[in-house]
Symmetry: C2
Amino acid sequence: MSGALPGAVEGPVLVIGTGLIGTSVALSLRRAGVDVLLTDVDDENLRIAREAGAGRMLERDDVPVIVVAAVPPRLVPSVLARASADYPRATLTDVASVKHSVVRDALSLGADPVRLVGGHPMAGREVSGSAGARKDLLDDRLWVITPLPESGPEHVERVRALATTCGAVPLQMGLAEHDAAVALVSHTPQVLSSVLASRLVDSRPEFVGIAGQGLRDMTRIAASNVDLWSDILTENAGQVVEVLDGVITSLEQVRSALASGGRGEGTVRATLAAGVSGQALIPGKHGAERSDFREITVLLADKPGELGRLFSAVGVAQVNLEDIRIEHVLGRPSGLVALMVEPDAVPRLVDALKALTFDVRA
Amino acid sequence: MSGALPGAVEGPVLVIGTGLIGTSVALSLRRAGVDVLLTDVDDENLRIAREAGAGRMLERDDVPVIVVAAVPPRLVPSVLARASADYPRATLTDVASVKHSVVRDALSLGADPVRLVGGHPMAGREVSGSAGARKDLLDDRLWVITPLPESGPEHVERVRALATTCGAVPLQMGLAEHDAAVALVSHTPQVLSSVLASRLVDSRPEFVGIAGQGLRDMTRIAASNVDLWSDILTENAGQVVEVLDGVITSLEQVRSALASGGRGEGTVRATLAAGVSGQALIPGKHGAERSDFREITVLLADKPGELGRLFSAVGVAQVNLEDIRIEHVLGRPSGLVALMVEPDAVPRLVDALKALTFDVRA
């Protein structure tokens, strides 16, 4: 297309549904100069998206190269089947966070399996609503792509190009594989976080008052959008139930072990030890193992500029932070900051911080 | 005592057990100039503590004003009962993270209820081993104090002074209240984190590879010390079982709802909504409500100095950060940094960051 940046996906791209993800996809494609066509059953959504510069109205004689079904998961199958008939040469994809049920239903409604390549841009869990659409929402996010065995290589390649043009990182998986993976690493953790947080509702305020960083971390995603997650869990129910069964069985074993007194200690220890092993498997930044990093703790005064002073010192020392965690304690205006760095950088960073009178606990 | 800072607790303080917490308590008391007596059945531990400057050897004619039983929870009752007999005027306390069973057993072994005031310094979950003892370990930590109905006010006051002298923040609770509170906000979250992380052990590597910040947060405390947590859970088994029962029941309801197809959606929604309510009850920094803060997201290049440049800009703008979260994405050298600030500070901060060409997503 005229105006498209080198390497950008070929347009026109038709985005059906101008909600949060659809409009964000459209905006990021426009950023790359790609011709974007928009349509939505909701005139108001469509107007907002057009005024934000997300693309132009779909016209009768437009022939999209790619159709992106960015409608709620339940509507994706019929939208894809219809698009398959309307645009018999177009690559067909979607953005639903559950893939197997959605793609299977689309095929059964007549969508062309050669041209259908499902997708799941894994964009922030805490955003919802079309007002949150942004041209950079997908930057640096994973975009899982789930080709069928029948999918033509050119269609798979086109969906990959769609993802990279939007700034995302494409990752290819099978349909069931994707759904099992997100059930394990995203959907079941959401259920556990929500259930744990729900136990706080009727508890005494002074109990919640002594909560530390552990409970905060464990319940952060419990604040997520109820409508969105209700749909996701329902659509991926089979895979989530399978993971939940394992979790419930394990919790019941621990519960029985604790209730049985000292005799159950082996079970408790085995579960804790398996947790240590499992946690160590989670990749850190860029796939590095967490255990490669060392933690340095700094106690900061709680006043403007202290964090700036700290991180300036880190920058001056030419140390790259792998991760940061800030802890807070009830009733005291101060904070512990944990800095995760490469082991080699520890002496240099500790020396630099101590020289600037930081309260360092290496 | 000669050399003690104004407001410091009156010594001598006898610390029985020179492991991580005992030695840290002793070091922080010495920092305030308090006379500290040490004893341990382990000669090597005792030698290390003394060489670190944690105090002097307990002698036959020493008369401690306070005795701190810093031994493993299972040994606390006999140590406290023995100290009660040996030092008939001393205030008696401990540092075990479970209180009811420990104090009850101490009383049944003959400890004086007037002088016994249990304590629980809530110091970092990720430290263990005597080598980690530090004079500042307890700074700004909560130190729960659990007087008995019979406890003399002067003994309660002395344990409060012990806590503040160590740099901690004393908080008074009942025995059962403390145990129920930590079961809810600390022990059960630990079980859930460990169980969730344990499910990753036999999963496919590519599943864990798409893990996002949610799973990382949910499994961070699963890396905690197995010995320590096995003891804690076993000692507080009754209270943990009670909270776990509620969690398991709720998980089973969600599981059944998901397995029943569309009919179960009301249950799923209700659980998610209760989770949103519960999460909102957790106090933010200094007891402020989390909802008082706004989040600003910045996309940083992954190179040394970028975080320094960011936080310097925050400091120059005279904005106080309430919290920070850093996200990472597989396969791309960049990071999203979420900054939580007071709503009033948002426009000022956004303008300041944009002026310095930061990629801001308010």
